[in-house]
């Protein structure tokens, strides 16, 4: 009887890597409640985690009433997402989110502080079936035509199975 053959099994650590994503858009978003919905799915076999975020939403040109906003959360497949972070600004104000430094939204901020938003963001994870949702809504009386920037860094971690 021959000696049993064993094959060395080297356990490999789950792969992790970072990726920066920049979404620029000047597509006119009509006033009165039109949305620009961005849904991001992680590569198959990976879970994504937001580790850095920057949002620049300029004022809506010529608007005289209402507000505009960003919403970050999970895509549920319905128009009504699960929103975790939101920033709403009156029509004459921009909306800024600069990771850890600035969270400027004159009408409503949730969470109410930069620190709170960073803490909440660390719990936002998504994969290839449950998308990260970063949306812009225009509830003013004019079209939003200035360039909007959504920039974020994602850490992807390989999952088992």
């Amino acid at each position: 009887m021959g000696r049993p053959q064993f094959e060395a099994v080297v356990a490999s650590a789950p792969r992790e890597y970072l990726e920066k994503v920049v979404l620029l858009s000047s597509t006119p978003i009509a006033g009165g409640g039109q949305f620009e919905l961005n849904k991001i799915y992680a590569p198959p076999g990976f879970v994504g985690e937001l580790v850095g975020l920057r949002i620049d939403l300029p004022i809506v040109p010529a608007a005289t009433s209402g507000y505009h906003a960003f919403y970050i959360g999970y895509d549920t497949g319905d128009p009504q997402n699960i929103d975790l972070i939101k920033g709403e600004a009156n029509y004459g104000d921009p909306v800024y989110f600069r990771h850890g430094f600035v969270f400027q939204a004159s009408k409503l901020k949730y969470p109410t502080s930069e620190d709170g938003a960073i803490a909440l963001m660390s719990n936002i994870k998504f994969d290839d079936t449950v998308a990260l949702s970063i949306n812009y809504g225009n509830f003013t009386d004019k079209s939003a035509t200035a360039e909007r920037r959504i920039q974020f860094t994602v850490k992807y971690r390989q999952v088992a199975g």
């Binding site: 994503v21 009165g32 949305f35 919905l37 849904k39 497949g77």
Partner: protein
């Protein structure tokens, strides 16, 4: 292709009666539209404007639209 949520809200179908299996935005193509009625009977219509795959294989879908009546 336009997909509409059925009245029982269990699936999306197109005008041919084909069912949209998976029901994930990343399975849509540029120009596809999705409409549904919300609980307050407002009709929402969104259209896929961009579909990109990043260098690491993430899929980014951008849709634009909103309430069309009500």
């Amino acid at each position: 292709m336009k997909w509409s949520l059925t009245s029982d809200k269990k699936e999306w179908k197109n005008y041919k009666g084909e069912v949209f299996k998976g029901k994930m935005a990343k399975d849509l193509n540029i120009g596809d539209q999705v409409e549904q009625f919300m609980d307050d009977n407002k009709q929402v219509l969104v259209e896929v404007k961009k579909r990109e795959v990043t260098e690491k294989g993430a899929v980014c879908i951008t849709l634009i639209g909103g309430v069309v009546n009500g």
